[in-house]
């Protein structure tokens, strides 16, 4: 490894003592919402990933707490509705959420308490970014982080519709979209995400995507040795893979983990809306406008002739006479 790193390799260590390269700048963008011509980045940052090992997670919510603290959000004190999931959904003040599912394994008849840390998956092919109409409100860095740039956000909620995982939330206070940033502000200075740092069991780990996949392999081997024959890595290809991945004991049925999509992909509806419709629509409207202008310029206008004005006058005069006559007759 060179004596400088372009991104941190772990969340657990203290701040690096070796210098970091300038990180996550405009030059490192590989995608920018509503921007067609983005200069090719001069360098490729090492892809990073967060790996969430659901089998190691104890549902302590330290990740939620760390997320609130680091991002300085202010989630409301809600109420109990009979479950451990609190708040009850992701909010603009809660970028990550432990979702608890009580699942009886039909094969063993044993209860399994599945606890999944929900939050942005940082898709390689991000649906939010595809849907976003505001230039530069959503960006993707070459290390894989998908970030929201709030000053560019218009609050339309298209990202919510674009996301295959139902992650972004629009703040009722400032009408901007919020979600996990993968702690881009920490990663940029060599620190891992706050949630991974806070996780007491290292169920959340952070590093290069390659390292995380290797780590996942070890975990999957361990789980298989414990009888979880379908244990596996959740890195869904439908969105080009993700930079937040799960180790699942039951990777054959992700949906049991609080409706984690089995095969997530950007919705065909969104693809049509942001693809064919956008281009064809603009073209059709342009053609119609241009056609009208051309017709106006080159075709003869539909004018009323003098003769027709006279015809009208005659008709009116006749009608008046008729009327007068009828009055007299009466």
């Amino acid at each position: 490894m060179a004596n400088t790193m372009d991104s941190p390799r772990t969340a657990v260590s203290n701040p690096p003592v070796q210098p970091m390269e300038t990180n996550l700048t405009q030059k490192d963008l590989i995608r920018r919402s509503a921007t067609s011509e983005l200069p090719r980045p001069e360098r490729q940052l090492t892809p990073v990933a967060k790996l969430i090992d659901v089998s190691k997670c104890i549902g302590c919510k330290a990740c939620q707490s760390a997320c609130v603290e680091w991002n300085d959000t202010n989630p409301a004190v809600g109420e109990n509705v009979g479950v451990y999931t609190n708040p009850h959904d992701l909010t603009a003040d809660m970028y990550t959420l432990m979702r608890f599912t009580e699942w009886v394994n039909p094969e063993t008849d044993n209860l399994e308490w599945l606890i999944r840390k929900d939050g942005c998956m940082h898709c390689a092919d991000p649906g939010c970014l595809k849907a976003c109409p505001a230039p530069g409100a959503i960006v993707q860095y070459s290390n894989g982080i998908v970030d929201f740039v709030h000053e560019n956000c218009i609050g339309c909620g298209y990202c919510v519709k674009g996301c295959p995982f139902n992650i972004p939330r629009i703040s009722k206070a400032d009408h901007r979209a919020y979600k996990c940033t993968l702690c881009s502000d920490r990663v940029a200075v060599g620190q891992g995400p706050a949630c991974a740092k806070a996780c007491p069991t290292q169920a959340i780990v952070f590093g290069t995507k390659e390292d995380m996949k290797k780590h996942a392999d070890e975990r999957i081997a361990d789980l298989k040795s414990r009888g979880y024959t379908n244990a596996g890595l959740y890195d869904p290809p439908g969105v080009g893979g993700t930079h937040v991945m799960y180790v699942l004991h039951h990777n054959d049925k992700p949906h049991i983990y609080s409706d984690l999509p089995d095969n997530p992909a950007i919705s065909a509806v969104v693809e049509t809306w942001k693809g064919a419709t956008k281009y064809a629509g603009l073209a059709v409207m342009g053609l119609a406008a241009a056609g009208s202008i051309l017709h106006g310029l080159f075709a003869k206008a539909n004018r009323v002739s003098k003769h027709e004005e006279e015809e009208a006058k005659e008709l009116v005069d006749e009608s008046v006479e008729h009327a007068d006559k009828r009055v007299e007759d009466a």
Binding site: V77, G82, V83
Partner: protein, 815 residues
């Protein structure tokens, strides 16, 4: 903990029973995940609820709360019946071979010598047969019918899998699976660790719960080894320090005991502290008791403690009852016999059972002082909060002084963790508002009281006037000064006993550790077991070197562990009788022919020959005890006893209620409910989102778990027509609470003694102060009765009833 948190990574099997480590100790639990991930360790959870720990376990078995002894006795029986015993270890390192007196026996759920009137045992038969040589008689062949081993087998005989299932409600196949997994740890190369907490202590037989597991660990050869041990997970960051420093009413520091009225003078007191070895050549380290006691008295009273005045023995108070534990204090308060109460870092209104009684007791005080960084319910017990604290404020005359203190992040000092590590910490922030250090407050009170005593005299001003108070600023002792005083120092030049011309420690210098303490008044030490924490090398508690040679998990240069920086107690037992490690891959100590070497500070004299000196040096026997003689009030073997409030009868003696020797006050007997009136078995516990009643003051924690709830099974919910997230009322003979219902698959009804038992789980984090929603604690419902040996309240097993209800009403604020 016999071992350390970091040592748990060395285990092969983690048994979490009587605790919920993942939920209540999430940071320490990381070592369990380490063991699982890197050693392939398995995790077993035995609990009435499928907990967050269970969610990451390899095997879960349900159990009815308060029946752990039956379960563990059943496992012991399984291991013995199936030959799954670490024979060499058991024979060499336990008192299995000791012969017990003829009179001792067990029948109908009671040991020999029970006196129903006194609710106590005559324990004279609970002892060894003593030989003419003054030592206990043993039979190393274990053939003698009266040897401990054979008596133990006889005692365990009724605990068949069927009996365990009948008592505990654990399905037989699940019990057998757990027993089988545990029994595999009887080989010298497989170890098991026991992680427990208040799920075992908060019972009227809490001490016996722990003994049962300790005995199981002994016959499996898992004490003193890496990845083994009995690991009590302490509930506060410094609760280990609390007991170490003698904050219990019957203890002085370092587990020296408080004198009683019978101890008319120092020599009488010392007659019960001789600790003569019961077997030849044994260490019986408590023989040094006098050194520690005299050094303690010198620390307390300085020059006023002299040989002539019995080291000021009469300056310390003498107990007229076994202990002034919290239950007794509140009973006395309730009887109107207490004038004032200083409540430091303690919220008894929510922490101790029968809140109604506590409120009445506090209302009878003339004054109450609370010292806490947060607003506690206790400091506001007089304030009306509608249903949440329904008191008549005008009728309460108690004058309350609420003194804000620093919190742990705002002061300097050491915290002693579960693994006995004294970890120094520094202030990270300054105190808000009028907050003061606890030491400042106490010093201010003391100095003013001393002035009053000096001026006005009084019946016996001497202990106050002569109390050693040698601090640079008498009204603000510095943590460094206190720590040095606890470590101890030489008061005169200490000469080397082997070479009287050589000065070992100069006068005024810190002693290196307690081995230099003396009983002639030439040394002082505030707490002998902590000695070594701040010696002439400096503040050893502040060490932060995390090097760990060969990754044993010992971390000897990280802070300071008592005693003597030893990380694993009884570590000599990690090697066989010849001093060879049981498991060479997990070596802790080894006898190299002349001395003990290895990764830890030996828990034995470094040159004590392995065949001659037993590893349990604090015991007079030199070995561990499967049979505890008369040392525990409720029996030398653990026997099944039901909780005082139980949904079923004791199958061994259907008339017996609770622990037959546990103390119960008269008014509290009347407040015990029956299963006819209160059919459901309730238990209390912590949730990971909160820490006791503190974090509800924090908005983040409050958002993560906002509102008081109770947990019940889907079956009970259906029976009672209770809706998920709906309001319920839960009530016991002593009180009533309202909560949201969490209806869950994680609690299932158990079949006990032929009938279904429904469990109601009640977490304990809500009150009427703070930023979370107002709520109640389980102590409104729990019974006012404690453990027979240590008086820990029985908050883990009591009876309640439940019904659908409506929201509680807060006080209407008049505008």
């Amino acid at each position: 903990m016999t071992n350390a948190w970091t040592d748990i990574k060395n285990t092969d099997l983690v048994v979490v029973m009587g605790g919920n480590a993942a939920e209540a100790h999430p940071c320490g639990f990381k070592w369990v995940t380490e063991a699982k991930a890197h050693r392939g360790a398995k995790l077993i959870v035995v609990d009435p609820r499928y907990t967050r720990t269970a969610s990451v376990s390899d095997y879960y078995a349900p159990i009815r709360q308060g029946t752990d002894i039956a379960f563990l006795n059943g496992v012991m029986k399984y291991c013995i019946d199936n030959g799954k015993v670490q024979w060499e270890y058991m024979k060499a390192f336990t008192n299995a071979s000791f012969i017990v007196k003829d009179g001792f026996g067990y029948k109908d759920g009671l040991f020999t010598g029970y006196d129903e009137e006194k609710r106590d045992y005559d324990k004279s038969t609970w002892d060894y047969v003593m030989g003419d040589d003054g030592f206990a008689v043993t039979d190393p062949t274990l053939e003698h019918p009266r040897c401990v081993w054979n008596l133990l087998k006889e005692h365990l005989a009724p605990y068949t899998p069927e009996m365990v299932s009948q008592i505990c409600g654990t399905p037989k196949d699940k019990f057998l699976k757990v027993a089988e997994m545990i029994s595999e740890c009887s080989t010298p190369t497989k170890t098991m660790t026991s992680m427990y907490a208040l799920g075992w202590t908060q019972h009227s037989k809490g001490s016996q719960n722990i003994r049962a597991m300790a005995m199981l660990q002994l016959i499996l050869g898992n004490i003193g080894v890496r990845g083994g041990g009995m690991n009590a997970l302490r509930g506060h960051s410094n609760i280990q320090g609390l007991t170490d420093l003698g904050l219990m009413s019957h203890l002085l520091t370092g587990y020296l005991t408080m004198p009683t009225e019978k101890d008319v003078d120092f020599s009488t007191y010392m007659t019960t502290k001789q600790f003569k070895p019961l077997r030849p050549g044994q260490t019986s380290y408590w023989q040094n008791y006098k050194k520690f006691m005299v050094s303690f008295q010198k620390a307390m009273f300085g020059d006023a403690a002299t040989a002539e005045n019995d080291w000021a023995f009469n300056y310390i108070s003498k107990l007229d009852v076994p202990a002034y534990d919290v239950l007794r204090m509140f009973e006395l308060m309730y009887q109107g016999k207490v004038n004032g109460y200083i409540c430091q870092g303690f919220n008894p209104l929510l922490a101790f059972p029968n809140r109604g009684k506590n409120t009445e007791a506090l209302s009878k005080l003339k004054w109450l002082v609370t010292m806490d960084p947060l607003e506690t319910e206790t400091s506001r017990f007089w304030e009306n909060h509608g249903d949440f604290n329904d008191v008549d404020t005008a009728a309460i005359k108690t004058e309350v002084f609420q003194l804000p203190t620093s919190c742990f992040a705002e002061d300097e000092g050491s915290l002693t963790n579960s693994g006995r590590w004294l970890q120094w910490h520094w202030a990270a922030a300054s105190m808000p508002g009028e907050a003061k250090y606890d030491t400042w407050i106490i010093a201010q009170i003391f100095v003013r009281m001393r002035e009053l005593y000096a001026k006005e005299g009084g019946a016996f001003p001497d202990p106050i006037l002569n109390l050693s108070w040698d601090y640079a600023d008498p009204v603000e002792p510095h943590p460094e000064e206190l720590a040095k005083e606890i470590n101890g120092r030489a008061l005169t030049d200490l000469m080397d006993p082997t070479d009287p011309t050589k000065v070992l420690v100069e006068a005024g210098k810190q002693v290196v550790n307690f081995s230099q303490l003396r009983d002639d008044g030439t040394t002082m030490s505030g707490c002998w077991i902590y000695s070594g924490c701040w010696n002439e090398q400096g503040n050893n508690m502040a060490r932060r070197d995390n090097h760990d040679p060969d990754e044993t998990g010992a971390y000897l240069n990280w802070t300071f562990a008592w005693p003597l920086n030893r990380r694993t107690l009884y570590n000599r037992a990690s090697a066989d009788i010849n001093g060879k490690p049981w498991d060479p891959t997990r070596k802790l100590l080894e006898w190299d022919g002349s001395k003990w070497t290895g990764y830890d500070v030996p828990d034995i004299a470094p040159t004590a020959k392995p065949q001659d000196v037993g590893p349990f040096i604090m015991n007079q026997e030199g070995v561990s005890r499967l049979f505890t003689r008369g040392m525990m009030r409720d029996g030398p073997f653990p026997a099944h006893m039901e909780p005082f409030e139980s949904p079923v009868e004791n199958v061994f003696n259907r008339k017996m209620r609770g622990n037959p020797v546990a103390r119960v006050f008269k008014t509290d007997v009347e407040q015990l409910g029956t299963s006819a009136e209160f059919p459901y078995a309730a238990t209390s516990y912590r949730l990971t989102e909160h820490f006791h009643y503190w974090t509800k003051h924090n908005r983040v924690n409050s958002a993560l778990q906002p509102e008081f709830f109770v947990e019940i099974s889907e079956e009970l919910a259906a029976e009672k027509k209770i809706e998920q997230g709906g309001w319920v009322r839960v009530w016991s003979k002593r009180g009533s609470v309202k909560a949201k219902a969490v209806v869950t698959k994680r609690i299932r009804p158990l079949i006990c003694d032929g009938k279904p038992v429904h469990i109601v789980g009640i977490p304990l984090h809500w009150g009427f102060t703070g930023s979370a929603k107002k709520g109640f604690g389980p102590n409104s419902l729990a019974a006012f009765v404690g453990d027979a040996n240590i008086e820990t309240p029985e908050s883990k097993a009591f009876l309640v009833n439940i019904e659908p209800s409506t929201a509680p009403k807060d006080k209407e604020v008049s505008v």
